[in-house]
Point group: C2
Chain length 236, copies 2
């Protein structure tokens, strides 16, 4: 937790918060912080700055908060990713959020196992929790929008063209001939398939929506590694 993310309900005065539960435990147990210590904090979807601990005990921590700066700029990249294995999902969401992505779609694809759709990890509450973990890691305050789409064709044909309008549209495909372009100016919409990739018919649908297949080379990467690698090459 490199930033303590605060919410409206934490405030007991304009510049004072009281935290209980997970955040208090982390501040006490991991940061081993005491009264007088200063932590980095920020308000969800707002500014960030310093939080000074006034009092901490086994139940709550009270801090005075001075918010003097904006969070880092968002990454101009929309990520469309096939639902990964539940074991991997949390890391993909937290990782993508830590990279600064603010719009994310989790979609179906032929090679997404049906059983993944019944995972409790796809719940709104869990997705939000992982996004918060990504913000706390990377020192950001702006929560990403994360949407889940159960039907590939309906999404790609009816929604994606509008979502991707005026952006560079790329689909990551390990066997694509073109290398992933670097340092793209402007907004990018990046689609990443399931383990094993999108099938041919899906690539055709994506092509019709304007998505060009690109690759980082012959190595097949895990989704979480691929997200970090592609997003960084595109944005650096």
């Amino acid at each position: 937790m490199n930033l303590v993310l605060l919410f409206a309900e934490d405030f007991v005065a304009d510049d004072r918060v009281v935290l209980r539960g997970r955040r208090r435990e982390h501040i006490a147990g991991v940061h081993r912080a005491a009264a007088g210590d200063v932590l980095v904090a920020g308000v969800a979807n707002g500014r960030m700055g310093a939080a000074t601990i006034l009092r901490i005990d086994g139940e709550s921590v009270e801090m005075s908060v001075a918010l003097d700066r904006d969070p880092p700029p968002p990454l101009p990249l929309t990520l469309v990713v096939a639902v990964p294995r539940p074991k991997v999902l949390n890391r993909v969401i937290a990782g993508a959020t830590s990279l600064g992505i603010k719009r994310l779609f989790l979609i179906n694809a032929w090679r997404v196992e049906k059983s993944y759709w019944s995972s409790p990890r796809l719940s709104e509450a869990n997705l939000r929790e992982q996004a918060i973990a990504g913000l706390e890691q990377s020192r950001d305050t702006i929560l990403p929008s994360i949407e889940v789409r159960r039907f590939f064709r309906r999404f790609v044909e009816d929604e994606l063209p509008e979502i991707a309008r005026d952006s560079t549209c790329l689909v990551a495909h390990p066997y694509a001939a073109d290398p992933c372009p670097r340092s793209i100016a402007g907004h990018v919409t990046l689609a990443i398939g399931p383990e094993g990739g999108f099938i041919e018919a899906e690539l055709v649908s994506l092509d019709r929506a304007g998505f060009r297949p690109v690759s980082l080379g012959p190595r097949v990467l895990r989704v979480e590694t691929a997200v970090a690698a592609l997003v960084s090459v595109i944005s650096a």
Copy 2:
């Protein structure tokens, strides 16, 4: 397992292998493969190609192997990384290996918790297992060399200059003024600190060894995300 990694002891004839245990279970349970199916396979530190299943049962799988191509080229990058939390270590090793890194040092640093050093995950057997997972993921056969160094200064002063000779030497530091350079030609040696970064005295030691601090921006990334992001930007 996008590639079945084979070892000398698997061969029962020049072009035939018999596998038991984890790889058989994966071929049966995840690939759901049957006699006649063809998988991608490769010999550890050797060539790769196709493995045709001759016979598979609850105990073993027999395959005929035709190795007709070289593995992908290695990444010309040596990674020096402070020992991460045991929970994260496996993913860092497998991830770095999947990116094509062939030389990796796990080192101590001020902010590495002492308890990490007693983790069984730092054993040679576990490090090798994670490296194999990275090769199986990325379709590569060349095992990386992974070395563990308990003493920061001794390593940086006595060994690192020789390890890093004739390479571009970079240390990732979230607060560095210079952005991480892209698409570097030639060999790179990249040092990545613990959560919280290297301390000032360590940066001074690294500077004396020729390492220039660079950053990917103000966001603090988890080690595994940082490795994928930095390595891809440097190599793309």
